[in-house]
Amino acid sequence: MQRQAEKKTPRETTLVESEEAVFDLLESLLQEVDEKQPAKVETTVETKQEQQTDQQTQQQVKPETETQAEPQTGQHTDNVKIFEQLPLEMQERLIAQATEELKIKNSLPEWVEHTIPCLLVDVEGVEVAVPLILLSGISAWDQETLPMPTQPDWHLGVIEYRDENVVIVDTARLIMPEKITQSVEERRENHASHFLRVGQNQALSCNAIIETISLKQDEVRWRITRKARPWAVGILIERLSVLLDTEELLKEINAK
């Protein structure tokens, strides 16, 4: 279930990429307009098809790639003309919007797809969404926990899970240490009810499993820069839960 995703390095947005993004946006907007006027679109398509048929009958056989490339180039030129005719204020707004979308796109972790199946869990009263693709197991925490000496306070101990030794990580202690006042021993004795298997031999503790949901990219407010709290990839707009990047959280653990 888990895959070792390579971290996507955020890169600077070039001017060319910004322009391309603007035209992609324009294209999508024009497609929306066309969809609302189906009769007109069909007529236009038919006309183009008739023209192409005429061209094909008059000329020698063209390679398929060239035939397919022509409409796209034409569409791009049309988009440029449309864009240049827009009021300056609208041009600037579109560029800003497209640049923002491109920044978001470049900042997304590699595991982000069009839809993101997630598990919603409760961590000390705070709802957290964990992408299913980053999990390798979910279990009730009813195994005996072996405390390990001289470990940091997020290290709650080791359990045996599926014939492997797994370190239980105090998720709450990691993501909201300001709210945790109990000692490690107290946290271990009154431990959370479940854990989520992540990484090679680690598991994140959680107080309850809520439900699974399937997120769309536009249902998340993505964090473009993540210098602080790199594990918080974004916020679920509807539920106001934090979307947790467990890979970043593990990096933080392993760096400690």
């Binding site: 961590v123 009263g125 705070v126 709802e127 957290v128 993501i175 909201m176 300001e178 407010r221 964090r223 473009i224 820069t225 993540r226 602080a228 709290r229 918080a232 916020i235 707009i237 509807e238 539920r239 106001l240 839960s241 934090v242």
Partner: protein
């Protein structure tokens, strides 16, 4: 004569302030920076956020960060009650909510009525105080919202 009167009016612009209460004091903020005033609904906590951030709310599909103004001003926190309100403001191109004890009225002032007062408030709040004005024998503390947070803190507001 007319020119002199015009010059006086232009040099003493009228300002409208939305006033709110924190503990025993009344504060005012520029009405042009106020988007709306909300009753306090569910504020979702944000793990790892600074201590002055109460959490986030969903405002018509937008995620808005809510600041605990009492904490930001160095005052002790208070329980949220029926009079508590979230004032949604725009500053430094960011939209945030500030939690206050209650919202009072919109007050009209001339700029000349606002005096600079370096000794008003405590050390925490004095950074944000633009000045003070007297209204109906009560002291009104005028807050400079742009100084409520540093540039870096403002930039973080949209990243929760």
């Amino acid at each position: 004569m007319t020119t002199e009167v015009d010059e006086t009016v232009n040099n003493d612009p009228e300002i409208q302030l939305v006033t709110f209460r924190l503990k025993d004091e009344t504060y005012g903020i520029n009405v042009m920076q106020v988007q709306e005033v909300l009753r306090v609904a569910e504020i979702a906590p944000v793990p790892g956020a600074p201590h002055y951030v109460l959490g986030i709310i969903n405002l018509r599909g937008n995620v808005v960060t809510v600041i605990d103004t009492r904490v930001r001003f160095g005052l002790p926190s208070a329980e949220i009650d029926d009079l508590s309100r979230i004032i949604v403001i725009e500053s430094e191109a960011q939209v945030v909510g500030i939690l206050v004890d209650s919202v009072a009225e919109v007050v009209d002032l001339n700029a000349s009525e606002i005096d600079s007062a370096p000794n008003v408030g405590n050390e925490e709040s004095s950074r944000y105080i633009q000045g003070v004005a007297s209204r109906d024998s009560n002291l009104l503390i005028v807050v400079d919202l742009n100084k409520l947070l540093s540039d870096e803190e403002w930039a973080e507001m949209s990243m929760f």
